[in-house]
């Protein structure tokens, strides 16, 4: 089910912790102009579509309400790609040690 969650699904919610204008005093303007938001994962308590309000239970056992942002959210961070400038380091050291 791609467009929503059933009760018991592992989901991610978005919560607006502080709206823009109610944030900490003294923060830079490029930060203050945005709301302060958070994302929390947990098991959905009931059915909801993406963008709808949903309640979930977290790994720490808390009950939190927010906007359904994702169902079965994954980890997309990676190792990137080898960079030529970095690849040059090993051979330069080996050459130094072999000469």
């Amino acid at each position: 089910m791609s467009m929503g969650a059933r009760a018991g699904d592992w989901v991610r919610i978005r919560v607006t912790i502080l709206p823009a204008g109610e944030r900490a005093p003294g923060i830079p303007a490029d930060t203050a102009s945005h709301p302060y938001q958070g994302w929390i994962d947990g098991w959905a308590a009931h059915e909801a579509a993406i963008g709808e309000r949903v309640t979930l239970r977290t790994l720490a056992g808390r009950t939190v309400e927010g906007t359904l942002a994702d169902v079965n959210p994954g980890y997309a961070h990676s190792f990137g790609r080898p960079h030529p400038a970095l690849l040059a380091v090993g051979p330069s050291l080996k050459k130094l040690l072999e000469d």
């Binding site: 490029d30 945005h34 929390i40 977290t58 960079h83």
Partner: protein
Amino acid sequence: MGYAEVMARKSEILLRATGLDYRSFSRGPLAFDYDAMMERVGYPLEEIRRIQSTAGVGRTPLLEMRRLTEAVRRISPEGKGARILVKDEACNPSGSFKDRRASVSAFHAGKNGYKGIIAATSGNYGAAVASQAAMYGLRCIIVQEVFDSSGRGQPEILEKGRKCEALGAEVIQTTVGPELFYVLLSLLEETGFFNASLYTPFSVTGIETLGVEIAEQVREVAGRDPDLVAVTHAGGGNITGTARGLRRAGCTSTEVLAVSVDLSGLHMASDRDFNRKSFTTGHTGFSMPFTSWPDRVDVPRNAARPLRYIDRFVTVTQGEVFFATEALAQAEGLERGPAGNTSLAAALALAREMDRDRIIVVSETEYTGAGKHPTAQLAFAEQAGVIVESGDPRDNAPGRRIVIPADLRRMSVSEVDLDRLRESYVRRAAQEAPGGLGDEEVEFLAAETRVPAERVRQWLSARSHS
């Protein structure tokens, strides 16, 4: 609940969340009895060793960098090229020295009946707290600053978030902003959990074992004390705890070197700058403010007080740390870091100036993985428009250009003027006490900055005349 409302209850929330009443150590508007606080609140060293040993923390190997030492000697003047040893802290349960800090907090929280522990951290400390919480059967919440306003997450922090979740912690990932502290306070109030702050005596004394082990292991392999211990420096706990451990072990002539990645010019609370940095810890964005004013933390008094312990402070560039990370992998067969290799980068440069019979210890490594790797960070930097190239690290410009040294000869350090930081500390202290500073306060500032009281008075009077 509103920001101001929660912040106004800060003192009572923190008091309940650590059980520590800092007022008993207070000696004036600024002065407090630091030694008594560390002595009475922290656990004795032997007890900490027992706690850590039970939790599988510490007793990590001290590895000789034979090939890197040899490489340095080949480019050094005759008779130069100090021996480099690395404490492989990645061997701790969650992959960094931060387990030492978390272990004492988790033990203390469990012993005092707290049901869970919370930490606000985007660093390895989150995984350490999550890991220790799992061992003690405590619930755990980690709050991280991860995303800019467009939703782009820093890859290293995304990895740390994954790891916390893998270890059973609830993770709250936020957008950029210092309101992380507000979230922490709200959660502490809601749950009644223990505040596993990085800056309590529990956390800082937990690192003393690292300094003690370094002393013991160097004596074992070399029959003498280390000459220089290089410590990656951010919030100040690492340098404070390690140096205290070295002193405890009787290393009176060992120089304690603080090393940070130079991120000058990038604002830490800026949404735009957030994803233009390739390091999320060990950098000057933390170390400069925390060295010149430690009490900017989530407890009333910071147990990490860097100016009491730093003998010398240098910075290195992002590209130099990536070089050191790659060198450690390719010449020593150890894939670690990157942030933990900040002090290794400095060691590779400084070993060239030191005699061959001298010993440099790099105090830590950290685990590596997807996101938390030079290739991930460089790809991310390029996506943000940062230029990445091989060349002379002097061309490095934080947030705009990362230059990876073309070879070992290009590695160097930049000295940080400690007196400037000391003076900055004293000036800030004077602002905090508008009623003026008495003799006891001046003596306290002298101990804090390791200068004679007369020097503190000069800085204070220069300020009042300027």
